[in-house]
């Protein structure tokens, strides 16, 4: 079989891919001649920006080198322009001579558009298209000034690349925001801000009028408003036009580009076209994905296979050196369209989803594009999103876990994707650590710090371990709360907030509980999370509490209870003591004991007597000491300046104030405080959940102590000068623990997870956040700062047996 003669005009990314497909599938089918006007073969043009930014070298972005062409017997005529095509004779006329073809592929690409303003033909005015342009930009350094006309992707890449080399760069853009075709104004604003932080000057709505030259070389750009921008180099990156000149002269059908059908065939049965030079069904193509689709279709067509090019909806995931951008679909505003917008100003994150008829039709993201593939899938598939509308913007992780395979999502993340926000660790750093031998979560934490702070990215890190190590990694099963559900405490907490679940029924339903109404493990946890997150909306459910918290007394091993009245700051008086003594006698309390929390415990009270003993104690002004609760227990104090010759502050007074502010509040686990009047620390404040040690200059607040199964010394949170501020900090840290702690984690365990630094950031450094925490604590306390004994005492009949059948049976 004689080989067909195939001539290819243009060695770009599209034709390179065609040649790969052809020579792989049928190495001997074609005798190939490849023309290229640039004096080189195929390279990855979209990687010119990393070359400019010095992240890569030209050699690294070459996709096909001499050996490749040699091995496939491709005759290369690089640096030679094609002068004309004679379609009748089927001959291509190159500068150095003709070559005949059986089949011809035009892959002439596109030309940068140069605004025909005065001075556009001066030296030092370039486009950003090929290696020569790139090299001119690379010649610029810190002493140079460059003006870039065009605030689209290409112009910004050029600007960012040169700015990274220290060049003084100004971007001139005619529109009101950058990249107006891919971004909406809000994302454009963030992009501008981020470029300005890199030292780039950005001028918007700026109309260029003239390039001023000196000795035939560009010297400055004049704007219509008279501003003069001096420059050593002027880069015009305002768009590209399909390069159709050769096709037009050859008499092929040409519109904006060379007309092709679904098989990439032009109006001539032996001439094909591919890439940026074509027009298919009215559309032009600039992104690489459709070009590769075209290349595949063209190769298949040449090999006699059935193939058809279909336009796909496009997403743009862009990287303007250091800024994460994503846009897809249609994000213009319009009738019947709804926006969902998420903004995190602190992290510079902006996300906007556009919905129409319950379907996602557009998305713009800036700063955090981790879920972009998922959103793009929703747009492409036209999926009905009404069921997940509430949490849609938070991405697939918030959709109850069924939506996507998290592993593929993690595998699809780019290397620079930030995994650990606390420590700023990106995917590639973690993968490198894993490849260097960090084989489990602990090792990755030790090597990179990823997930070593707040821990919310632990799942992602584990997935990276799994993706990187494959079967070698044993995924520790995420521990669900209990057998009733598949979700961890952390997931449930997050979903209660994000999905605004305000009842236990809502939690069971929306989060897929497998049991009718939970069990003794999950119900108390869910009850706590609901009352902590929705203090006003959710009503505490006693039936979801352990008996002690339902009975407001501690059950003892014989089924009797212990009763501990509150003694504020450990201070009592004869009247209270008398009331306690009377109650002990009246209800035959077998044991009266002084507790470690500076109060008195009445042990052995019968269940049915509880409301009555409470009622008696209430009459003397005594209230519940919550000695039974996952909540504030006591504030232990020493006598401080009242009596002690060493006391530096009124520690007793502060202890009482703290107890009066905090009492009644529910927390993930019990919460014990102490205030010592001097560093001799007689109140043992440094082994409490929150301890205050008074010093001459103020109050040292330390947290995370324990003296139970674990013994821990507190760590210093902050020293504050005034009592008022000390109270505020204690309230704020309590609320932060209430909002973030896992149920049954003592404060020190929560602290281990989020890190002392994080807590400092939340309650010490960020005063606004501290105030917000205090405010939320007060809202919750408006419900819970009251005596449960007084309320329970009214329900006395409930503590008695429902019926007594002993008498009837005896009849």
């Amino acid at each position: 079989m004689t080989k067909q003669r195939l001539v290819v005009v243009g060695a770009g990314m599209a034709s390179g891919r065609v040649l790969e497909h052809l020579t792989d599938a049928a190495p001997d089918a074609f005798d190939i001649t490849l023309f290229n006007a640039e004096p080189r073969g195929n390279y990855n043009r979209i990687m010119l920006s990393p070359v400019l930014a010095r992240d890569q070298t030209y050699e690294e972005i070459v996709t096909h080198d001499d050996d490749w062409y040699g091995a496939r017997d491709v005759t290369c005529r690089f640096g030679e322009r094609v002068v004309s095509i004679d379609r009748t004779a089927k001959v291509v006329e190159g500068e150095n001579g003709p070559v005949s073809y059986d089949k011809l592929i035009l892959a002439t690409g596109s030309n940068p558009f140069m605004i025909p303003m005065p001075g556009h033909d001066l030296d030092g005015v370039i486009a950003y298209r090929d290696l020569e342009d790139t090299q001119q930009m690379m010649a610029m350094g810190p002493d140079n000034r460059v003006v870039v006309i065009g605030g689209g992707l290409l112009g910004l890449e050029a600007a960012a690349g040169m700015a990274a080399r220290g060049v003084d760069v100004t971007v001139v853009h005619i529109m009101g925001h950058l990249m107006e075709r891919q971004l909406d104004p809000a994302a454009g604003y963030l992009l501008k801000k981020s470029l300005e932080e890199k030292g780039i000057t950005v001028l918007l709505e700026a109309q260029s009028s003239e390039i001023v030259g000196e000795d035939g070389h560009a010297r400055a750009l004049m704007l219509a408003d008279g501003t003069e921008l001096p420059c050593d180099l002027l880069v015009m990156a305002v768009g590209i036009r399909p390069n159709v000149a050769l096709a037009q002269e050859a008499g092929l059908a040409v519109g904006k580009g060379i007309h092709v059908d679904d098989q990439m065939l032009t109006s001539d049965a032996d001439v094909f076209a591919v890439g940026e030079c074509v027009e298919h069904d009215g559309a032009l193509f600039g992104l690489v994905a459709p070009l590769y689709d075209q290349a595949k279709v063209l190769a298949q067509t040449l090999l006699g296979e059935d193939a058809a090019f279909k336009q796909r909806s496009l997403s743009t995931k862009l990287k303007v050196t250091g800024c994460d951008l994503f846009s897809a679909g249609d994000f213009a505003e319009g009738d019947g369209r709804e926006d969902i917008v998420f903004r995190d100003p602190a992290r510079g994150v902006y996300k906007r989803l556009v919905l129409e008829n319950d379907r996602l039709i557009g998305a713009v993201m800036y700063g955090d594009t981790a879920d972009s593939n998922w959103f793009f899938g929703l747009i492409r598939d036209g999926e009905d999103v009404s069921d997940m509308r509430e949490t849609l913007i938070f991405g697939p992780a918030y959709q109850g876990g069924a939506a996507v395979d998290p592993l593929s999502a993690v595998a699809a993340l780019p290397p620079e994707a930030e995994i650990c926000g606390c420590n700023g660790i990106c995917k590639s750093t973690i993968v490198e650590a894993i490849e260097d031998g960090a084989g489990d979560l602990g090792a990755v934490r030790a090597a990179t710090k990823a997930s070593a702070s707040c821990g919310t990215c632990t799942g992602l890190v584990e997935q990276l371990l799994q993706v990187t190590l494959g079967d070698e990694f044993q995924m520790p099963a995420a521990q669900p709360i209990c057998g009733c559900c598949d979700l961890t405490h952390e997931d449930v907490r997050r979903l209660i907030k994000s999905q605004e679940l305000k009842s236990q029924e809502a939690v069971w339903q929306e989060l897929g509980w497998k049991t009718r109404n939970g069990c003794h493990v999950c119900r108390p946890a869910v009850n706590y999370y609901l009352l902590a997150d929705w203090p006003l909306e959710y009503k505490d459910d006693p039936q979801s509490r352990f008996v002690n918290e339902r009975k407001h007394a501690n059950i003892q091993k014989d089924g009797t209870f212990s009763v501990v009245p509150r003694m504020w700051g450990g201070i009592t008086n004869p009247a209270e003591l008398r009331a306690i003594a009377d109650a002990a006698e009246k209800y035959d309390v077998p044991t009266v004991k002084v507790t470690g929390g500076q109060r008195i415990d009445l042990l052995g009270v019968k269940g049915a007597d509880l409301p009555h003993i409470w009622s008696d104690l209430n009459k003397a002004g005594l209230v519940s000491g919550h000695a039974y609760s996952k909540g504030l227990r006591t504030v232990k104090t020493c006598v401080g300046t009242d009596h002690c010759r060493f006391g530096t502050q009124d520690s007793t007074g502060l202890g009482i104030k703290l107890e009066q502010v905090l009492w009644g509040s529910w927390t993930p686990h019990k919460l014990k405080l102490a205030v010592s009047g001097c560093p001799r620390n007689c109140a043992e404040a440094t082994c409490k959940d929150i301890g205050v040690v008074c010093v001459d200059s103020g109050f040292q607040i330390s947290i995370g102590g324990a003296a139970g199964m674990d013994v821990k010394e507190t760590e210093l949170l902050v020293q504050v000068p005034t009592e008022a501020e000390a109270i505020e900090v204690v309230m704020a840290v309590t609320q932060a623990y209430r909002e973030g702690g896992k149920y049954l984690d003592r404060l020190y365990k929560w602290m281990t997870k989020v890190g002392l630094d994080w807590i400092k950031g939340a309650v010490v450094d960020d005063l606004e956040n501290r105030r917000a925490l205090v405010e939320r604590f007060e809202i919750s306390q408006s419900v819970y700062r009251k005596d449960p004994w007084a309320e329970q005492a009214k329900e006395a009949p409930r503590f008695a047996p429902l019926a007594d059948l002993t008498l009837e049976a005896a009849e």
């Binding site: 049991t515 009718r516 109404n517 939970g518 069990c519 003794h520 119900r523 108390p524 006693p542 039936q543 979801s544 509490r545 352990f546 008996v547 339902r550 009975k551 059950i555 091993k557 014989d558 089924g559 269940g607 409930r798 047996p801 429902l802 019926a803 007594d804 059948l805 002993t806 009837e808 049976a809 005896a810």
Partner: protein
């Protein structure tokens, strides 16, 4: 059968329990649903914990002392532990709770 009216359904909190004193000792009445009541021994066979003080979930109760879980249909302990509590016939007549007196008598006779 000798159904004894022992109270109104709302005398027992939903997912809660109340105790009835009988010649056999304390029997706990568990309200597992709006109109679903079980009767069983109030005493955990493990360490004598008062089951009426436990958390009621599904058709089970968890002992407040050491978290033994009992199926209220059979009285069987669930999971790794071993044991069973007595269960008693109980029914709802509208909103009234009826306990079978003969069952209590039979047990006491046995």
């Amino acid at each position: 059968m000798n159904w004894i009216d022992i109270g109104h359904i709302d005398d027992i909190p939903l997912r809660g329990a109340r105790v009835v004193k009988t010649p056999l000792g304390c029997i706990a009445l568990f309200r597992t649903g709006e109109a679903e009541v079980f009767a069983a021994s109030d005493t955990c066979p493990h360490k004598g914990g008062p089951l009426s003080e436990g958390i009621v979930h599904g058709q089970s109760v968890t002992c407040p002392l050491h978290n033994w879980v009992f199926d209220l249909n059979s009285g069987q302990v669930q999971g790794a532990d071993e044991g069973q509590i007595a269960t008693y016939p109980v029914q709802l007549d509208g909103e009234r709770i009826l306990l079978d007196g003969t069952a209590l008598a039979r047990r006491s006779a046995a």
